[in-house]
Symmetry: C2
DNA sequence: CAGCCGAACGTTAGCGCTAACGTTCTGTCG
DNA sequence: CGACAGAACGTTAGCGCTAACGTTCGGCTG
């Protein structure tokens, strides 16, 4: 590790034969330098391998062109969001630094925002599913944008339209002819889960279908809960012909239970998930699901933050982005199966008792 | 966004009625302050919500207690590694900031290391699978540790023992009685892929089993390549009874192909993967695989970096951590199936032609 | 009791940079 | 041709902090 000294702006200026301030102006592309001199300075800086010291820049109150992101890395879409955000940020000549929230730690997150505040020009917080540190961010006088996956915040924010997605999922099943449609819920402490449940009930009502509480089973977004919920549903006398699971993971749990019971998806039961996780298009059956607009969320959040940094004091904006129904193999029209379905049911009933 | 001003050390000192330097000493837990005064200052700093300005600290050449990590977020185990590293760092009272490498971008990565250098006390680089920017890091005079997933570096580094893992996988199959064992390779530009292939050949030789080039199919770690490779293997006159896939993703691809051909795993063909990706214990069949020592890698890399930061000029250390065979459902002893296997083969042969 | 030593402080300089002023010099217009 | 504007620079101060020195003072030694 050789202790070579990185050149400072003063050294660049000296070599270029100008004052420190002229060099600063040239490098930051500010007026007050003649074109020839500017080019000269830029060339010399480049040759010397000059890199601006962001710590010093930030200390003087200037922009560092860094945005900070606070996120829980283990949460499903986080890496996709981060990749998208990084690309958008870089396109705007910003760099992005990520602070990875510990999984379960109650240390004051105040200091984390503080730390980023000292480095970055603004912060995007991808709100974890469960968090109690929103208030502590309120004092940070640095632009903050939140991406909400489950919790509402008072900051300018970006969210996926879970309600609309849930409606689309259910309408899809209804259009396929299904009438007995079950719902495996998510963790209702999260707005996303509540919105999806609300969509289930609302669309049922709109379609004038009866609401059967037995068809609405509680889950928690995990595979196991989907598995167990489906077992409960299969044990019903009049079991559903379709299931809307609050997310893909629990949908696959439900599918596993259905198969274990000797039934097929979508042959016997259609299943819709939510999220469009990457393997949803690879596993068998490829899952019909609702795609989260991750790229748009990434783009919108970064652009919103950059606008705030630029001083456009946008009123506390709440951006809600549309989700999209992706039809794959796990759903199929009901009608053609009706008779076979009935036959199987009778058969099983007689065998069972 | 109220423009409340965060207290500086000078303000804390003023309120405490001491000089700025005494306050600094107290807060940084350095000698030269009487116990009573120290406690006083700490209390007041806490009350005022003082947070040290890392930019200013770094500017004076002091430690910031931040470690930087450069990683490609979309690469398989990155989030697990990062979570582990974050936990270890926090335990040592360090914070961690992650720079997410763009997927494919040829911008000089020099400036990224530079940026982190100005903020952090040391940097861990999780080497992406394909990269040409190792040299540009060489000039950074800041401790650097690499985690190698595919490329060798000249820095102190931490790696998983791919060769040993490959050996374990193959020995497992041989112990189960398999003799015709195929290999679906990874991308050979990566040392990890080469090491696994080398293990395949070496163990075959050690076991005095014949090496059949037809059983060694090229892949690229992706699901599709596993699928296609397995199709080739199934088309062989004398098809293998076991497959060692260079990673779990391609292993599941192979399993999909085997099933599509009407065969079962492990009934007809045993499959071993490599990596132990999270879903390997959830999908059907649960995959026998080689677990990467991610937690140990995280721990080792952070500890190594902290040692370097502490000035223990450890000689360019290369830490290789052992992998672990995880036996699940996708492998089974050959012998009991021998006759049935033969029967099936004859049957298929006669039907086929 | 002079001399000295070390603990407990305070003061100064400077890290690398930028904002906010000076300063110089050229052109330009009444 | 003086006054004045404005472009092209240079100088100064200071961001918040710490290293490296001063300074003070109680206590100990011979």
């Amino acid at each position: 590790m050789m202790k070579r000294h990185y050149p400072t702006l003063a050294e660049v200026a000296k070599v270029a034969g100008v004052s420190l301030m002229t060099a600063s102006r040239a490098i930051n592309n500010r007026p007050g330098v003649s074109p020839e001199k500017r080019e000269d300075i830029l060339r010399i800086a480049d040759e010397m391998g000059y890199v601006a010291n962001r710590a010093a820049q930030k200390l003087t109150g200037a922009r560092t062109r860094i945005i900070g992101v606070v996120a829980e890395l283990h949460t499903p879409f986080t890496s996709d969001l981060l990749l998208g955000m990084g690309a958008v940020a870089r396109a705007a000549d910003y760099e992005m630094l990520v602070y990875s929230l510990p999984v379960c730690d109650r240390r004051p997150p105040h200091s984390i925002i503080e730390m980023l505040r000292q480095i970055a020009d603004g912060v995007i917080v991808i709100l974890p599913y469960e968090s109690d540190y929103l208030e502590s961010m309120a004092t940070a006088h640095i632009p903050v944008v939140t991406i909400e996956q489950g919790i509402e915040s008072a900051f300018p924010s970006v969210t996926a339209d879970n309600y609309q997605g849930g409606c689309a999922a259910l309408r899809h099943l209804i259009e396929l002819g299904h009438r007995r449609i079950a719902f495996i819920s998510g963790n209702d402490r999260l707005t996303s889960a509540r919105d999806r449940r609300r969509a289930y009930r609302d669309v049922l009502a709109q379609a004038r279908l009866p609401y059967d509480p037995a068809l609405e089973v509680d889950g928690d977004f995990l595979r196991k809960s989907g598995f167990e919920a489906a077992q409960k549903l299969l044990a019903l006398d009049d079991r559903p012909t379709a299931i809307f699971a609050a997310n893909d993971t629990s949908a696959y749990g439900a599918i596993a239970a259905i198969r274990e019971a000797g039934l097929s998806v979508p042959g016997d039961i259609s299943v819709v998930g939510f999220d469009d996780i990457p393997i949803a298009s690879q596993l068998h059956p490829q899952l019909t699901t609702i795609r989260q607009p991750l790229q748009q969320m990434a783009r919108a959040s970064v652009n919103l933050l950059l606008a705030l940094i630029a001083g456009l004091d946008a009123p506390s904006e709440q951006i809600v982005l549309p989700t999209q129904l992706i039809v794959r193999e796990s759903t199929t029209p009901l009608k053609v199966k009706r008779k076979k379905e009935e036959a199987v049911k009778v058969e099983r009933a007689s065998v069972g008792r």
